[in-house]
């Protein structure tokens, strides 16, 4: 028996967004350390050029779910998404790219200048109902939350809501839709997250990928 040198592979699955603003920088980082998907882009679970590593391409908002249940071991997604879902995960590193702010914005012509100015029962349109609820609860303001799936900035002008909670990186979209930011609720950027059990049972593999990704992130200019 001792003639044979073998290996029982303990593969890792890394979840990355299949579209959206984080996809491109993540692909560049992976490529810079020689990790490329071996299958067509539409194959959501693909082997890679690195042995023992598979890439799972799913919606950025679903990544924490896949990781929490241990379907994927590690993943990269936005801090805003991680906060919104509230799952218990390990957040191993701030990848620094894809930074943006989650802001509270009102119509340009409205009288509100700070969050506390907003009235009880204020209508808030957002893609982030949990963060928004927590934020308004902390202010003691009862807010009516309207969940939208994107292009949230248009809601106040059309009269659907009084304000919005949404991501903004330059403020350009807000301005173009007649809005102004009155508070930054949180700062977001891409984070490397990990399933808690995978971290314990596949410690060496997880640490190796973490180191590779963090170093690549520092070396590459995004």
């Amino acid at each position: 028996m001792e003639l044979f040198w073998v290996k029982e592979m303990k593969g890792l699955i890394l979840a990355i967004p299949n579209k959206g603003r984080l996809r491109k920088p993540i692909m560049e980082i992976l490529e810079s350390i020689g990790i490329m998907a071996m299958d067509d882009e539409r194959v959501y679970l693909s082997n890679t050029t690195m042995e023992n590593l598979q890439l799972l391409s799913v919606r950025a908002v679903d990544i924490p779910t896949y990781i929490y249940y241990g379907i994927a071991d590690m993943g990269i997604t936005g801090k805003d998404i991680i906060e919104e879902c509230g799952f218990e995960l390990y957040e191993l590193a701030d990848m620094k790219f894809g930074s943006c702010n989650l802001v509270l914005a009102v119509r340009e012509d409205s009288p509100y200048s700070i969050p506390m100015d907003l009235p009880q029962g204020v209508k808030v349109a957002t893609e982030f109902p949990n963060i928004t609820r927590r934020f308004f609860n902390s202010l003691g303001i009862q807010a009516e939350i309207i969940i939208l799936r994107g292009a949230v900035e248009i809601a106040p002008i059309l009269g659907l809501s009084d304000c919005i909670v949404d991501l903004s990186s330059t403020g350009e979209t807000l301005r173009k839709n007649g809005l102004r930011s009155i508070a930054t609720i949180m700062k977001s950027s891409a984070r490397l997250i990990c399933n808690k059990i995978s971290y314990k049972t596949k410690y060496n593999e997880v640490k190796r990928i973490e180191e590779l990704l963090v170093r690549a992130c520092e070396n590459i200019n995004l």
Binding site: F4, K7, E8, M9, Y90, R191, K200
Partner: protein, 353 residues
């Protein structure tokens, strides 16, 4: 069958079964378990308008029973169902079954050691090799106190998600940062606690002695290789005050159970009594057993890289002669079996099967 196994071992260890009530005054649960847990349980009103909840966990109920009915027992166990809210993104079900044990006494390390080893023993008898991560609420509080950090909830969340970034948002003090960084980045044995004492937090000396006592028990039961000290393990329930632990199994993505010491909750109920316990989720255990038998029953897969066909066949012959089923195929990126390749690629077969 799983329940029977738990019952058998609990009884062998001298524990007695208790049944708790299906409904309970909401205020009692809130007093024991605290927020945010109580947000996740079903509530309704009694005839007089008082809020009643359906049981969502058992420990608080048992603590209350100890306080109100003066049990002479100090070792009890339960196998009961619990009901909680489930959000649309949760995979779990509203109703789940828990098996658990509670030990009341002086509050010594030997009691926590017994509880942890009992949990491992039950799982062992079910054919599951579980692992345990131990943390300490006591050490966490001492560190927060030592560095005068007041935002305890935020700090607990930051540490338990191992997020250096989140800790940095709360902690300005550089030496505090060094200690917390050490905590989230290191897993090991007692030396982790020792190191904190070396870092100058003298109050932890007490916990170090405690951990030494705990590991003495664990070693006596022969479970030392399953247990890791990871001080970022901090469970959410507000009732814990000493050590806390999480039980997990390879292949199951979330902890299958956990527990810890909760003397402070006993105080809330007016008893000065040490209390420690654990609970595991039976539904997850069923899943794990299915997973492990699946792995066992399936044939061994042998994949060979170019030039290794002969070795693969030789290996298969040997396995088959021992009555082990196996399949041979060329390696095309599979990762669910034995891969025969270059010498520097792996470890010896004896480790894999």
């Amino acid at each position: 069958m799983i329940e029977e196994k738990f019952r058998e071992i609990f009884e062998l260890w001298g524990y007695r079964e208790v049944r708790t009530s299906t409904v309970e005054y909401f205020d009692i649960i809130k007093l024991g378990a605290g927020e945010p847990f109580v947000d996740s349980i079903f509530k309704f009103q009694d005839y007089d308008g008082k809020l009643i909840s359906i049981r969502g966990e058992i420990t608080t109920q048992i603590a209350r029973m100890m306080a109100t009915r003066l049990y002479n027992e100090n070792r009890v166990y339960y196998i009961e169902n619990c009901i909680r809210f489930v959000s649309p993104r949760d995979v779990g079900q509203r109703e789940f079954w828990q098996a658990g044990a509670e030990l009341f006494g002086r509050g010594g390390a030997e009691e926590d050691g017994e509880i942890i080893c009992l949990a491992l023993e039950c799982l062992e008898k079910l054919g599951l090799k579980a692992n345990v991560d131990i943390g300490s609420i006591s050490i966490f509080r001492k560190i927060a106190n030592y560095f005068k950090i007041e935002e305890l909830d935020a700090l607990r969340r930051a540490i338990s998600s191992k997020s250096l970034f989140a800790i940095r948002e709360i902690v300005r003090n550089e030496s505090a940062m060094e200690v917390l960084k050490y905590i989230i980045e290191n897993r090991g044995s007692i030396e982790i606690v020792k190191k904190l004492v070396d870092m100058g937090i003298a109050e932890i000396m007490e916990d170090l002695k405690y951990f030494e006592g705990l590991f003495e028990v664990i070693r006596a039961y022969g479970y030392e290789d399953r247990i890791v000290v990871d001080l970022s393990t901090l469970r959410e329930m507000k009732y814990y005050n000493g050590i806390v632990f999480e039980i997990f199994l390879e292949g199951i993505g979330i902890p299958i159970g956990g527990g810890g010491r909760y003397d402070e909750m006993m105080k809330e109920f007016g008893l000065s009594l040490g209390a420690t316990g654990f609970a595991v989720n039976i539904d997850l255990i069923m899943k794990a057993i299915k997973y492990s038998t699946m792995k066992k029953e399936g044939p061994v897969r042998i994949y060979y890289k170019e030039g290794f066909l002969e070795k693969a066949v030789r290996m298969a012959k040997e396995l088959r002669s021992k009555g082990i089923k196996c399949i041979i195929a060329p390696h095309r990126g599979e990762n669910n079996g034995i891969i025969l390749g270059e010498r520097d690629e792996g470890t010896n077969i004896s480790n894999t099967k």
